[in-house]
Protein backbone atom coordinates (compact mmCIF):
# COMPACT_ATOMS: atom_id res chain seq x y z
CA UNK A 1 0.00 0.00 0.00
CA UNK A 2 1.41 3.34 -0.99
CA UNK A 3 0.51 6.32 1.08
CA UNK A 4 2.09 9.66 0.51
CA UNK A 5 1.15 13.27 0.91
CA UNK A 6 1.11 15.69 3.77
CA UNK A 7 -0.74 14.99 6.92
CA UNK A 8 -1.72 17.49 9.54
CA UNK A 9 -0.94 16.84 13.17
CA UNK A 10 -3.95 15.27 14.82
CA UNK A 11 -3.65 17.39 17.94
CA UNK A 12 -3.35 20.58 15.97
CA UNK A 13 -6.46 19.81 14.03
CA UNK A 14 -8.56 18.76 16.95
CA UNK A 15 -7.62 22.14 18.39
CA UNK A 16 -8.97 23.83 15.29
CA UNK A 17 -12.18 21.84 15.52
CA UNK A 18 -12.61 22.76 19.14
CA UNK A 19 -12.35 26.45 18.30
CA UNK A 20 -14.81 26.03 15.46
CA UNK A 21 -17.31 24.14 17.57
CA UNK A 22 -17.07 26.61 20.41
CA UNK A 23 -17.86 29.42 18.01
CA UNK A 24 -20.71 27.47 16.47
CA UNK A 25 -23.68 29.16 17.97
CA UNK A 26 -22.36 32.56 18.88
CA UNK A 27 -23.73 34.22 15.70
CA UNK A 28 -27.22 32.96 16.50
CA UNK A 29 -26.99 34.22 20.05
CA UNK A 30 -25.86 37.61 18.86
CA UNK A 31 -28.76 37.86 16.43
CA UNK A 32 -31.28 38.00 19.24
CA UNK A 33 -30.36 41.28 20.85
CA UNK A 34 -30.90 44.69 19.29
CA UNK A 35 -27.59 46.49 19.44
CA UNK A 36 -28.57 49.42 17.20
CA UNK A 37 -29.44 51.85 20.05
CA UNK A 38 -25.94 51.53 21.47
CA UNK A 39 -24.28 51.65 18.04
CA UNK A 40 -26.25 54.75 17.17
CA UNK A 41 -25.37 56.35 20.48
CA UNK A 42 -21.64 55.77 20.13
CA UNK A 43 -21.54 57.00 16.54
CA UNK A 44 -23.90 59.97 16.67
CA UNK A 45 -24.65 60.67 20.33
CA UNK A 46 -28.05 62.27 20.85
CA UNK A 47 -28.31 63.80 17.37
CA UNK A 48 -31.65 63.31 15.61
CA UNK A 49 -31.67 60.84 12.72
CA UNK A 50 -34.55 61.17 10.26
CA UNK A 51 -35.97 58.30 8.25
CA UNK A 52 -37.22 60.75 5.63
CA UNK A 53 -36.40 59.24 2.25
CA UNK A 54 -33.39 61.47 1.63
CA UNK A 55 -31.30 58.32 1.43
CA UNK A 56 -32.25 54.88 0.09
CA UNK A 57 -30.54 51.56 0.55
CA UNK A 58 -30.65 48.63 -1.88
CA UNK A 59 -29.66 45.24 -0.49
CA UNK A 60 -30.99 41.77 -1.32
CA UNK A 61 -33.50 40.48 1.27
CA UNK A 62 -31.61 37.20 1.19
CA UNK A 63 -27.87 37.10 0.70
CA UNK A 64 -26.99 34.68 -2.08
CA UNK A 65 -23.42 34.64 -0.87
CA UNK A 66 -23.04 36.07 2.62
CA UNK A 67 -19.39 36.79 1.86
CA UNK A 68 -20.33 38.97 -1.08
CA UNK A 69 -23.51 40.94 -0.56
CA UNK A 70 -23.90 43.89 -2.92
CA UNK A 71 -25.29 47.03 -1.30
CA UNK A 72 -26.06 50.38 -2.91
CA UNK A 73 -26.85 53.65 -1.19
CA UNK A 74 -28.71 56.22 -3.29
CA UNK A 75 -29.41 59.87 -2.69
CA UNK A 76 -32.32 60.77 -4.98
CA UNK A 77 -31.95 63.69 -7.44
CA UNK A 78 -34.57 65.61 -5.42
CA UNK A 79 -31.93 66.13 -2.74
CA UNK A 80 -30.04 69.21 -3.90
CA UNK A 81 -27.69 69.66 -0.94
CA UNK A 82 -24.07 68.67 -0.93
CA UNK A 83 -23.15 65.58 1.05
CA UNK A 84 -20.92 65.58 4.08
CA UNK A 85 -20.60 61.94 5.12
CA UNK A 86 -22.07 58.46 4.82
CA UNK A 87 -21.73 55.80 7.51
CA UNK A 88 -22.58 52.16 6.89
CA UNK A 89 -23.44 49.65 9.61
CA UNK A 90 -24.19 45.95 9.77
CA UNK A 91 -25.60 45.52 13.26
CA UNK A 92 -24.64 41.89 13.84
CA UNK A 93 -21.17 41.83 12.33
CA UNK A 94 -18.17 41.37 14.63
CA UNK A 95 -17.33 44.99 13.84
CA UNK A 96 -20.69 46.62 13.01
CA UNK A 97 -19.12 49.75 11.57
CA UNK A 98 -18.54 48.88 7.92
CA UNK A 99 -17.25 52.18 6.59
CA UNK A 100 -17.38 55.91 7.10
CA UNK A 101 -17.11 58.01 3.96
CA UNK A 102 -16.33 61.73 4.09
CA UNK A 103 -17.21 63.53 0.87
CA UNK A 104 -15.05 66.28 -0.64
CA UNK A 105 -15.77 69.16 -3.01
CA UNK A 106 -15.58 66.91 -6.09
CA UNK A 107 -18.34 64.59 -4.83
CA UNK A 108 -20.83 66.33 -7.12
CA UNK A 109 -24.36 67.76 -7.03
CA UNK A 110 -27.31 68.05 -9.36
CA UNK A 111 -28.29 64.45 -10.01
CA UNK A 112 -28.67 61.07 -8.33
CA UNK A 113 -25.65 60.28 -6.22
CA UNK A 114 -24.80 56.79 -5.14
CA UNK A 115 -22.26 54.59 -3.43
CA UNK A 116 -22.02 50.80 -3.87
CA UNK A 117 -19.84 48.16 -2.34
CA UNK A 118 -19.95 44.50 -1.36
CA UNK A 119 -20.00 43.39 2.22
CA UNK A 120 -19.80 40.32 4.40
CA UNK A 121 -22.86 39.66 6.49
CA UNK A 122 -22.25 37.42 9.43
CA UNK A 123 -25.84 36.65 10.23
CA UNK A 124 -29.40 37.84 9.85
CA UNK A 125 -28.88 41.54 10.35
CA UNK A 126 -29.98 45.05 9.63
CA UNK A 127 -27.80 46.96 7.22
CA UNK A 128 -28.00 50.72 7.80
CA UNK A 129 -26.86 53.78 5.90
CA UNK A 130 -26.69 57.10 7.73
CA UNK A 131 -26.21 60.12 5.49
CA UNK A 132 -25.06 63.49 6.76
CA UNK A 133 -25.97 66.34 4.47
CA UNK A 134 -24.25 69.72 4.13
CA UNK A 135 -26.55 71.30 6.73
CA UNK A 136 -25.38 68.81 9.34
CA UNK A 137 -28.63 66.82 9.53
CA UNK A 138 -28.67 63.01 9.61
CA UNK A 139 -30.85 60.71 7.47
CA UNK A 140 -31.16 56.94 7.65
CA UNK A 141 -32.18 53.99 5.50
CA UNK A 142 -32.42 50.42 6.88
CA UNK A 143 -32.63 47.02 5.19
CA UNK A 144 -32.89 43.62 6.81
CA UNK A 145 -30.75 40.96 5.14
CA UNK A 146 -31.10 37.23 5.82
CA UNK A 147 -28.02 35.12 5.29
CA UNK A 148 -28.79 32.37 2.77
CA UNK A 149 -28.98 28.99 4.51
CA UNK A 150 -26.30 26.40 4.04
CA UNK A 151 -23.13 27.08 2.21
CA UNK A 152 -22.51 30.77 2.79
CA UNK A 153 -19.20 31.51 4.42
CA UNK A 154 -17.23 34.56 5.31
CA UNK A 155 -14.12 33.03 3.88
CA UNK A 156 -12.55 33.28 0.49
CA UNK A 157 -13.23 30.51 -1.98
CA UNK A 158 -9.54 30.05 -2.67
CA UNK A 159 -7.37 31.72 -0.02
CA UNK A 160 -4.16 30.85 -1.87
CA UNK A 161 -5.16 32.84 -4.93
CA UNK A 162 -5.58 35.93 -2.78
CA UNK A 163 -1.92 36.56 -2.30
CA UNK A 164 -1.40 36.41 -6.07
CA UNK A 165 -1.55 39.95 -7.45
CA UNK A 166 -2.23 41.42 -4.00
CA UNK A 167 -2.57 45.16 -4.41
CA UNK A 168 -3.49 45.05 -8.09
CA UNK A 169 -5.87 47.98 -8.42
CA UNK A 170 -8.26 48.89 -11.20
CA UNK A 171 -9.88 52.31 -11.46
CA UNK A 172 -12.58 52.96 -14.04
CA UNK A 173 -14.73 55.96 -14.91
CA UNK A 174 -18.15 55.92 -16.52
CA UNK A 175 -19.51 59.09 -18.16
CA UNK A 176 -23.27 59.70 -17.78
CA UNK A 177 -25.62 58.61 -20.54
CA UNK A 178 -26.59 62.23 -21.13
CA UNK A 179 -23.90 64.85 -21.59
CA UNK A 180 -25.90 67.39 -19.61
CA UNK A 181 -25.81 65.23 -16.48
CA UNK A 182 -23.08 66.62 -14.18
CA UNK A 183 -22.68 63.33 -12.31
CA UNK A 184 -20.13 60.73 -13.41
CA UNK A 185 -19.46 57.32 -11.89
CA UNK A 186 -16.22 55.74 -10.89
CA UNK A 187 -15.18 52.30 -9.77
CA UNK A 188 -12.24 51.20 -7.65
CA UNK A 189 -11.36 47.55 -7.16
CA UNK A 190 -8.32 46.15 -5.40
CA UNK A 191 -7.02 42.59 -5.05
CA UNK A 192 -6.77 42.27 -1.32
CA UNK A 193 -7.79 39.46 1.06
CA UNK A 194 -9.38 41.95 3.47
CA UNK A 195 -8.90 39.12 5.92
CA UNK A 196 -10.70 39.07 9.22
CA UNK A 197 -8.11 37.09 11.19
CA UNK A 198 -10.23 33.94 11.24
CA UNK A 199 -8.62 32.11 8.35
CA UNK A 200 -6.26 29.22 8.88
CA UNK A 201 -2.84 29.17 7.24
CA UNK A 202 -2.58 25.71 5.77
CA UNK A 203 1.20 25.51 6.04
CA UNK A 204 1.54 26.59 9.65
CA UNK A 205 -1.98 25.73 10.88
CA UNK A 206 -2.03 29.14 12.55
CA UNK A 207 -4.64 31.79 12.06
CA UNK A 208 -3.68 34.42 9.51
CA UNK A 209 -3.54 37.81 11.18
CA UNK A 210 -6.20 40.28 10.13
CA UNK A 211 -5.17 42.46 7.22
CA UNK A 212 -7.68 44.73 5.57
CA UNK A 213 -8.11 47.97 3.69
CA UNK A 214 -8.62 50.79 6.19
CA UNK A 215 -8.39 53.94 4.12
CA UNK A 216 -9.37 54.79 0.57
CA UNK A 217 -8.90 58.28 -0.84
CA UNK A 218 -10.26 59.22 -4.27
CA UNK A 219 -9.47 62.51 -6.04
CA UNK A 220 -10.78 63.81 -9.34
CA UNK A 221 -8.35 66.05 -11.17
CA UNK A 222 -6.61 66.64 -7.82
CA UNK A 223 -9.78 67.50 -5.83
CA UNK A 224 -11.18 65.22 -3.14
CA UNK A 225 -14.16 63.06 -4.12
CA UNK A 226 -14.20 60.95 -1.00
CA UNK A 227 -12.09 59.63 1.81
CA UNK A 228 -13.23 56.42 3.41
CA UNK A 229 -12.31 54.52 6.55
CA UNK A 230 -13.28 50.87 6.23
CA UNK A 231 -13.19 47.56 8.10
CA UNK A 232 -13.14 43.85 7.29
CA UNK A 233 -16.90 43.86 6.79
CA UNK A 234 -15.99 44.85 3.24
CA UNK A 235 -15.67 41.69 1.11
CA UNK A 236 -12.42 40.19 -0.15
CA UNK A 237 -11.14 42.13 -3.16
CA UNK A 238 -12.84 45.38 -2.08
CA UNK A 239 -14.94 46.96 -4.76
CA UNK A 240 -16.46 50.45 -4.64
CA UNK A 241 -18.62 52.25 -7.15
CA UNK A 242 -19.46 55.89 -6.51
CA UNK A 243 -20.54 59.08 -8.20
CA UNK A 244 -18.50 62.24 -8.59
CA UNK A 245 -18.98 65.69 -10.08
CA UNK A 246 -17.97 66.23 -13.68
CA UNK A 247 -14.57 67.94 -13.93
CA UNK A 248 -12.20 69.16 -16.57
CA UNK A 249 -10.51 65.83 -17.29
CA UNK A 250 -12.35 63.40 -15.00
CA UNK A 251 -9.17 61.60 -14.08
CA UNK A 252 -9.31 59.73 -10.81
CA UNK A 253 -6.36 59.25 -8.47
CA UNK A 254 -6.78 56.60 -5.80
CA UNK A 255 -4.68 55.85 -2.72
CA UNK A 256 -5.48 52.80 -0.62
CA UNK A 257 -3.86 52.03 2.74
CA UNK A 258 -4.23 48.70 4.52
CA UNK A 259 -3.74 47.76 8.17
CA UNK A 260 -0.16 46.68 7.43
CA UNK A 261 0.54 50.26 6.41
CA UNK A 262 1.05 49.34 2.76
CA UNK A 263 -0.12 52.05 0.37
CA UNK A 264 -1.45 51.15 -3.06
CA UNK A 265 -1.97 53.89 -5.63
CA UNK A 266 -3.69 53.84 -9.02
CA UNK A 267 -5.08 56.19 -11.64
CA UNK A 268 -8.05 55.81 -13.91
CA UNK A 269 -7.23 55.18 -17.49
CA UNK A 270 -8.56 58.17 -19.42
CA UNK A 271 -12.16 57.39 -20.27
CA UNK A 272 -11.98 57.24 -24.03
CA UNK A 273 -15.71 57.13 -24.37
Amino acid sequence: MAISGNSFGRALLSGAVLVAVTLAFSPLARAEEDNWPSLRQSAFGDRAIANDGMVALDAPPTAEDAALVPITVRVPPSVSQGLKSLTLFIDKNPDPLVAKINFGPAAGKGGERSFSTRVRIDNFSYVRAVLETEDGSLHIANKFVAAAGGCAAMQAKDPDSETVDLGKTLVKTFPPALDANPIWSGQVMIKHPNSNGMQLNINTAEFIPARFVKDVTVKRDGELVLQMESTFSISTNPNFRFTFGKGANNNLDVAITDTDGTVFTAQSTPSGS
Binding site: M1, A2, I3, S4, G5, N6, S7, F8, R10, L13, A16, V17, A20, V21, L23, A24, F25, S26, P27, L28, D58, E64, D65, L68, P70, T72, S116, R118, A148, G149, G150, C151, A152, A153, M154, Q155, K157, D158, P159, D160, S161, D165, K168, L170, K172, F174, M189, K191, M198, Q199, L200, N201, I202, S235, N237, N239, R241
Partner: protein, 338 residues
Protein backbone atom coordinates in the same frame (compact mmCIF):
# COMPACT_ATOMS: atom_id res chain seq x y z
CA UNK B 1 -28.06 -17.01 21.16
CA UNK B 2 -24.59 -18.17 20.28
CA UNK B 3 -26.06 -20.19 17.45
CA UNK B 4 -27.76 -17.10 16.11
CA UNK B 5 -24.53 -15.20 16.31
CA UNK B 6 -22.68 -17.92 14.46
CA UNK B 7 -25.38 -17.98 11.82
CA UNK B 8 -24.96 -14.27 11.38
CA UNK B 9 -21.21 -14.61 11.12
CA UNK B 10 -21.56 -17.28 8.49
CA UNK B 11 -23.97 -15.12 6.61
CA UNK B 12 -21.52 -12.27 6.79
CA UNK B 13 -18.84 -14.43 5.30
CA UNK B 14 -21.20 -15.43 2.56
CA UNK B 15 -21.93 -11.76 1.89
CA UNK B 16 -18.30 -11.00 1.34
CA UNK B 17 -17.26 -10.80 -2.28
CA UNK B 18 -14.97 -13.34 -3.82
CA UNK B 19 -11.97 -11.60 -5.34
CA UNK B 20 -12.59 -10.08 -8.75
CA UNK B 21 -16.18 -11.15 -8.83
CA UNK B 22 -19.50 -9.53 -8.48
CA UNK B 23 -20.87 -9.71 -4.97
CA UNK B 24 -23.25 -12.43 -4.06
CA UNK B 25 -25.83 -11.71 -1.41
CA UNK B 26 -29.12 -13.20 -0.44
CA UNK B 27 -32.12 -11.09 -1.34
CA UNK B 28 -35.70 -11.38 -0.24
CA UNK B 29 -38.52 -12.15 -2.67
CA UNK B 30 -39.82 -8.56 -2.72
CA UNK B 31 -36.33 -7.22 -2.94
CA UNK B 32 -35.73 -9.55 -5.84
CA UNK B 33 -38.80 -8.24 -7.63
CA UNK B 34 -37.81 -4.66 -7.04
CA UNK B 35 -34.32 -5.53 -8.15
CA UNK B 36 -35.68 -7.15 -11.27
CA UNK B 37 -37.63 -4.00 -12.09
CA UNK B 38 -34.57 -1.88 -11.58
CA UNK B 39 -32.61 -4.27 -13.73
CA UNK B 40 -35.10 -3.92 -16.52
CA UNK B 41 -34.75 -0.17 -16.36
CA UNK B 42 -31.00 -0.10 -16.02
CA UNK B 43 -29.47 -3.44 -16.88
CA UNK B 44 -26.17 -2.67 -15.16
CA UNK B 45 -27.67 -1.63 -11.86
CA UNK B 46 -28.29 -4.03 -9.06
CA UNK B 47 -30.36 -2.39 -6.38
CA UNK B 48 -30.18 -3.26 -2.72
CA UNK B 49 -33.31 -1.73 -1.26
CA UNK B 50 -32.87 -0.36 2.22
CA UNK B 51 -35.23 -0.83 5.13
CA UNK B 52 -36.89 2.46 5.97
CA UNK B 53 -35.10 4.26 8.77
CA UNK B 54 -32.42 1.60 8.97
CA UNK B 55 -30.34 1.23 5.85
CA UNK B 56 -30.22 3.39 2.75
CA UNK B 57 -30.79 2.04 -0.75
CA UNK B 58 -27.58 1.32 -2.58
CA UNK B 59 -26.98 0.04 -6.11
CA UNK B 60 -24.04 -2.07 -7.22
CA UNK B 61 -22.97 -0.23 -10.36
CA UNK B 62 -19.91 -2.42 -11.01
CA UNK B 63 -18.45 -5.40 -9.18
CA UNK B 64 -17.86 -4.31 -5.60
CA UNK B 65 -18.86 -0.70 -6.20
CA UNK B 66 -22.00 0.50 -4.46
CA UNK B 67 -23.59 3.92 -4.81
CA UNK B 68 -26.38 5.53 -2.86
CA UNK B 69 -28.21 8.22 -4.80
CA UNK B 70 -29.16 11.30 -2.78
CA UNK B 71 -32.29 13.35 -3.30
CA UNK B 72 -32.46 16.53 -5.31
CA UNK B 73 -33.28 18.61 -2.26
CA UNK B 74 -31.76 20.93 0.31
CA UNK B 75 -31.33 19.83 3.93
CA UNK B 76 -34.55 19.15 5.84
CA UNK B 77 -35.62 17.12 8.88
CA UNK B 78 -37.35 14.70 6.47
CA UNK B 79 -34.35 13.99 4.24
CA UNK B 80 -31.86 14.06 7.12
CA UNK B 81 -29.21 15.46 4.82
CA UNK B 82 -29.63 12.63 2.31
CA UNK B 83 -29.01 14.87 -0.69
CA UNK B 84 -25.75 13.76 -2.27
CA UNK B 85 -24.38 10.54 -3.70
CA UNK B 86 -22.27 8.39 -1.42
CA UNK B 87 -20.32 5.29 -2.43
CA UNK B 88 -18.36 2.41 -1.03
CA UNK B 89 -15.84 0.15 -2.68
CA UNK B 90 -15.27 -3.37 -1.41
CA UNK B 91 -11.81 -4.93 -1.68
CA UNK B 92 -10.59 -8.33 -0.49
CA UNK B 93 -9.21 -6.86 2.70
CA UNK B 94 -10.99 -3.62 3.31
CA UNK B 95 -13.67 -1.12 2.33
CA UNK B 96 -13.27 2.50 1.34
CA UNK B 97 -16.20 4.88 1.73
CA UNK B 98 -16.52 7.96 -0.47
CA UNK B 99 -18.58 10.60 1.35
CA UNK B 100 -20.82 10.12 4.33
CA UNK B 101 -23.85 12.35 3.56
CA UNK B 102 -25.24 15.23 5.56
CA UNK B 103 -25.86 14.08 9.14
CA UNK B 104 -24.70 11.47 11.62
CA UNK B 105 -28.20 9.96 11.39
CA UNK B 106 -28.16 9.43 7.65
CA UNK B 107 -24.49 8.47 7.92
CA UNK B 108 -25.59 5.61 10.19
CA UNK B 109 -28.17 4.54 7.63
CA UNK B 110 -25.43 4.48 5.01
CA UNK B 111 -23.24 2.52 7.41
CA UNK B 112 -26.07 0.00 7.84
CA UNK B 113 -26.32 -0.33 4.06
CA UNK B 114 -22.62 -1.20 3.95
CA UNK B 115 -23.01 -3.76 6.73
CA UNK B 116 -25.90 -5.37 4.86
CA UNK B 117 -23.39 -6.16 2.12
CA UNK B 118 -20.21 -7.02 3.95
CA UNK B 119 -18.61 -7.10 7.37
CA UNK B 120 -15.14 -6.29 6.10
CA UNK B 121 -13.31 -3.48 7.87
CA UNK B 122 -13.96 0.07 6.80
CA UNK B 123 -10.39 1.23 6.45
CA UNK B 124 -10.81 4.54 4.68
CA UNK B 125 -13.43 7.25 4.76
CA UNK B 126 -12.69 9.59 1.87
CA UNK B 127 -14.30 13.03 1.85
CA UNK B 128 -14.47 14.22 -1.75
CA UNK B 129 -14.57 17.87 -0.60
CA UNK B 130 -15.62 19.99 2.38
CA UNK B 131 -19.37 20.54 1.85
CA UNK B 132 -21.64 19.44 4.73
CA UNK B 133 -23.85 17.21 2.56
CA UNK B 134 -20.74 15.06 1.94
CA UNK B 135 -18.95 15.15 5.30
CA UNK B 136 -21.45 15.61 8.12
CA UNK B 137 -22.08 11.86 8.31
CA UNK B 138 -18.42 11.22 9.24
CA UNK B 139 -19.30 10.69 12.90
CA UNK B 140 -21.23 7.51 11.99
CA UNK B 141 -17.93 5.90 10.97
CA UNK B 142 -15.86 6.93 13.97
CA UNK B 143 -16.33 3.59 15.73
CA UNK B 144 -14.70 1.82 12.77
CA UNK B 145 -11.59 3.87 13.45
CA UNK B 146 -10.92 4.49 9.76
CA UNK B 147 -8.35 6.78 8.22
CA UNK B 148 -10.22 9.93 7.15
CA UNK B 149 -8.86 11.08 3.81
CA UNK B 150 -9.23 14.40 2.01
CA UNK B 151 -7.61 16.99 -0.23
CA UNK B 152 -4.78 18.78 1.59
CA UNK B 153 -6.83 21.97 1.59
CA UNK B 154 -9.98 20.34 2.97
CA UNK B 155 -8.96 20.78 6.61
CA UNK B 156 -8.45 24.49 6.22
CA UNK B 157 -11.61 24.97 4.17
CA UNK B 158 -13.82 23.04 6.56
CA UNK B 159 -12.25 24.26 9.81
CA UNK B 160 -12.70 27.91 8.89
CA UNK B 161 -16.30 27.37 7.82
CA UNK B 162 -17.26 24.87 10.51
CA UNK B 163 -19.10 27.27 12.82
CA UNK B 164 -21.33 28.55 10.06
CA UNK B 165 -21.89 25.13 8.53
CA UNK B 166 -22.95 23.81 11.92
CA UNK B 167 -25.26 26.73 12.66
CA UNK B 168 -26.89 26.57 9.21
CA UNK B 169 -27.36 22.81 9.29
CA UNK B 170 -28.81 22.87 12.79
CA UNK B 171 -31.37 25.30 11.51
CA UNK B 172 -32.20 23.34 8.34
CA UNK B 173 -32.09 19.80 9.73
CA UNK B 174 -33.76 20.63 13.03
CA UNK B 175 -32.38 19.87 16.47
CA UNK B 176 -33.19 16.13 16.44
CA UNK B 177 -31.59 15.30 13.12
CA UNK B 178 -28.67 17.60 13.85
CA UNK B 179 -27.76 15.52 16.91
CA UNK B 180 -24.46 13.69 16.62
CA UNK B 181 -23.01 15.75 13.79
CA UNK B 182 -19.31 16.35 14.29
CA UNK B 183 -16.69 18.06 12.21
CA UNK B 184 -14.07 15.39 11.59
CA UNK B 185 -11.09 16.54 9.56
CA UNK B 186 -8.91 14.25 7.44
CA UNK B 187 -5.91 12.55 9.02
CA UNK B 188 -4.50 11.71 5.60
CA UNK B 189 -4.10 14.77 3.40
CA UNK B 190 -3.77 14.25 -0.35
CA UNK B 191 -1.54 16.58 -2.34
CA UNK B 192 0.43 14.33 -4.69
CA UNK B 193 -1.56 11.34 -6.03
CA UNK B 194 -2.17 8.69 -3.38
CA UNK B 195 -2.97 5.00 -3.91
CA UNK B 196 -5.08 3.15 -1.38
CA UNK B 197 -4.82 -0.64 -1.51
CA UNK B 198 -8.07 -2.40 -0.56
CA UNK B 199 -6.81 -5.88 -1.46
CA UNK B 200 -7.24 -6.88 -5.10
CA UNK B 201 -8.07 -3.34 -6.09
CA UNK B 202 -6.46 0.05 -5.73
CA UNK B 203 -8.03 3.46 -5.48
CA UNK B 204 -6.15 6.38 -6.97
CA UNK B 205 -6.83 9.75 -5.30
CA UNK B 206 -5.91 12.92 -7.16
CA UNK B 207 -6.13 16.39 -5.65
CA UNK B 208 -7.49 18.96 -8.10
CA UNK B 209 -6.85 22.66 -8.56
CA UNK B 210 -9.65 24.99 -7.49
CA UNK B 211 -12.86 24.17 -9.38
CA UNK B 212 -16.12 23.31 -7.53
CA UNK B 213 -14.21 24.17 -4.31
CA UNK B 214 -10.51 24.54 -3.56
CA UNK B 215 -10.42 21.00 -2.16
CA UNK B 216 -11.90 18.60 -4.75
CA UNK B 217 -10.61 15.04 -5.08
CA UNK B 218 -11.04 12.71 -8.05
CA UNK B 219 -11.01 9.01 -7.16
CA UNK B 220 -10.48 6.17 -9.62
CA UNK B 221 -11.07 2.48 -8.97
CA UNK B 222 -8.40 0.54 -10.86
CA UNK B 223 -10.28 -2.73 -11.09
CA UNK B 224 -13.48 -1.49 -12.71
CA UNK B 225 -12.15 1.76 -14.23
CA UNK B 226 -14.80 3.72 -12.37
CA UNK B 227 -14.22 7.44 -11.93
CA UNK B 228 -15.72 9.21 -8.91
CA UNK B 229 -15.99 12.88 -9.81
CA UNK B 230 -18.06 13.82 -6.77
CA UNK B 231 -19.23 17.43 -7.04
CA UNK B 232 -17.05 18.15 -10.03
CA UNK B 233 -19.99 16.56 -11.83
CA UNK B 234 -23.59 17.58 -11.26
CA UNK B 235 -26.46 16.09 -13.21
CA UNK B 236 -30.12 17.17 -12.84
CA UNK B 237 -29.19 19.11 -9.65
CA UNK B 238 -27.89 22.54 -10.66
CA UNK B 239 -24.11 22.84 -10.19
CA UNK B 240 -22.99 24.93 -7.22
CA UNK B 241 -19.92 27.11 -7.60
CA UNK B 242 -17.82 27.57 -4.48
CA UNK B 243 -14.38 27.69 -6.09
CA UNK B 244 -13.45 28.98 -9.51
CA UNK B 245 -15.57 29.00 -12.66
CA UNK B 246 -12.47 29.27 -14.82
CA UNK B 247 -10.78 26.43 -12.96
CA UNK B 248 -13.88 24.24 -13.25
CA UNK B 249 -14.28 24.84 -16.99
CA UNK B 250 -10.59 24.09 -17.52
CA UNK B 251 -10.91 20.85 -15.58
CA UNK B 252 -14.00 19.79 -17.55
CA UNK B 253 -12.10 20.47 -20.74
CA UNK B 254 -9.28 18.18 -19.65
CA UNK B 255 -11.73 15.46 -18.59
CA UNK B 256 -13.10 15.21 -22.11
CA UNK B 257 -10.08 13.13 -23.08
CA UNK B 258 -10.22 10.95 -20.00
CA UNK B 259 -11.44 7.44 -20.56
CA UNK B 260 -13.39 5.55 -17.93
CA UNK B 261 -15.90 2.73 -17.96
CA UNK B 262 -18.30 4.90 -15.96
CA UNK B 263 -18.38 8.00 -13.85
CA UNK B 264 -20.20 8.65 -10.57
CA UNK B 265 -21.49 12.21 -10.07
CA UNK B 266 -21.76 13.92 -6.69
CA UNK B 267 -25.38 14.78 -7.45
CA UNK B 268 -27.27 12.90 -10.15
CA UNK B 269 -27.83 9.28 -11.14
CA UNK B 270 -25.78 6.43 -9.69
CA UNK B 271 -23.53 6.23 -12.73
CA UNK B 272 -23.09 7.96 -16.08
CA UNK B 273 -20.94 7.75 -19.19
CA UNK B 274 -18.07 9.94 -20.30
CA UNK B 275 -17.87 12.29 -22.05
CA UNK B 276 -21.67 12.82 -22.48
CA UNK B 277 -22.16 13.19 -18.73
CA UNK B 278 -20.11 16.37 -18.68
CA UNK B 279 -21.94 18.28 -21.40
CA UNK B 280 -24.93 19.80 -19.54
CA UNK B 281 -22.70 21.03 -16.72
CA UNK B 282 -20.22 22.44 -19.19
CA UNK B 283 -23.08 24.24 -20.97
CA UNK B 284 -24.33 25.68 -17.72
CA UNK B 285 -20.98 26.99 -16.55
CA UNK B 286 -19.90 28.35 -19.93
CA UNK B 287 -23.27 30.10 -20.37
CA UNK B 288 -22.76 31.89 -17.07
CA UNK B 289 -19.16 32.75 -17.95
CA UNK B 290 -20.09 34.16 -21.35
CA UNK B 291 -23.07 36.14 -20.04
CA UNK B 292 -21.12 37.58 -17.12
CA UNK B 293 -18.16 38.56 -19.30
CA UNK B 294 -20.48 40.41 -21.68
CA UNK B 295 -22.23 42.22 -18.83
CA UNK B 296 -18.89 43.30 -17.34
CA UNK B 297 -17.84 44.59 -20.75
CA UNK B 298 -21.02 46.68 -20.85
CA UNK B 299 -20.11 48.23 -17.48
CA UNK B 300 -22.98 46.45 -15.70
CA UNK B 301 -22.90 45.87 -11.95
CA UNK B 302 -23.14 42.66 -9.96
CA UNK B 303 -26.74 43.51 -9.09
CA UNK B 304 -27.57 43.79 -12.81
CA UNK B 305 -25.76 40.58 -13.64
CA UNK B 306 -27.65 38.35 -11.21
CA UNK B 307 -30.92 39.31 -12.88
CA UNK B 308 -29.80 38.25 -16.35
CA UNK B 309 -26.81 35.93 -16.53
CA UNK B 310 -27.45 32.25 -17.20
CA UNK B 311 -31.25 32.57 -17.05
CA UNK B 312 -31.53 30.60 -20.32
CA UNK B 313 -30.53 27.53 -18.28
CA UNK B 314 -33.39 27.88 -15.80
CA UNK B 315 -35.57 25.03 -17.09
CA UNK B 316 -32.72 22.58 -17.39
CA UNK B 317 -31.92 22.08 -13.70
CA UNK B 318 -33.49 21.25 -10.38
CA UNK B 319 -32.87 23.65 -7.47
CA UNK B 320 -31.91 26.36 -9.99
CA UNK B 321 -33.60 29.13 -8.00
CA UNK B 322 -31.85 28.01 -4.87
CA UNK B 323 -28.27 28.18 -6.11
CA UNK B 324 -28.07 30.01 -9.42
CA UNK B 325 -27.84 33.60 -8.17
CA UNK B 326 -25.05 32.61 -5.82
CA UNK B 327 -23.22 30.98 -8.73
CA UNK B 328 -23.51 34.14 -10.81
CA UNK B 329 -22.31 36.26 -7.88
CA UNK B 330 -19.22 34.09 -7.50
CA UNK B 331 -18.56 34.05 -11.24
CA UNK B 332 -18.89 37.83 -11.47
CA UNK B 333 -16.44 38.46 -8.63
CA UNK B 334 -13.95 36.18 -10.32
CA UNK B 335 -14.34 37.29 -13.93
CA UNK B 336 -14.35 41.04 -13.32
CA UNK B 337 -10.58 40.76 -12.78
CA UNK B 338 -9.87 39.52 -16.28
Amino acid sequence: MSQMKRARDQEQVRHDPPANHSLGFPISRSAFLRGALALAAAPLLRVLPGHAGEALDVAEIAPGIFVHQGRYEVQSPENRGDMANASFIVGNDAIAVIDTLGSAKVGQEFHAAIRAVTGRPIKYVINSHMHPDHVFGNAAFKADNPIFVGHYKLARGLATRADRYLAANKQMLGDDTFQGIEVILPTLAVKEPVSLDLGGRTLLLEAQSTAHTDNDLIITDSQTDTLFLADLLFSVHVPTLDGSIKGWLTLLDSLKDRKAARVVPGHGPHAMELPAALIPEQDYLSTIATDVRNLIKEGKTLEDAVKIAGMSQRDKWKLFDYYHLRNVTAAFAELEWE
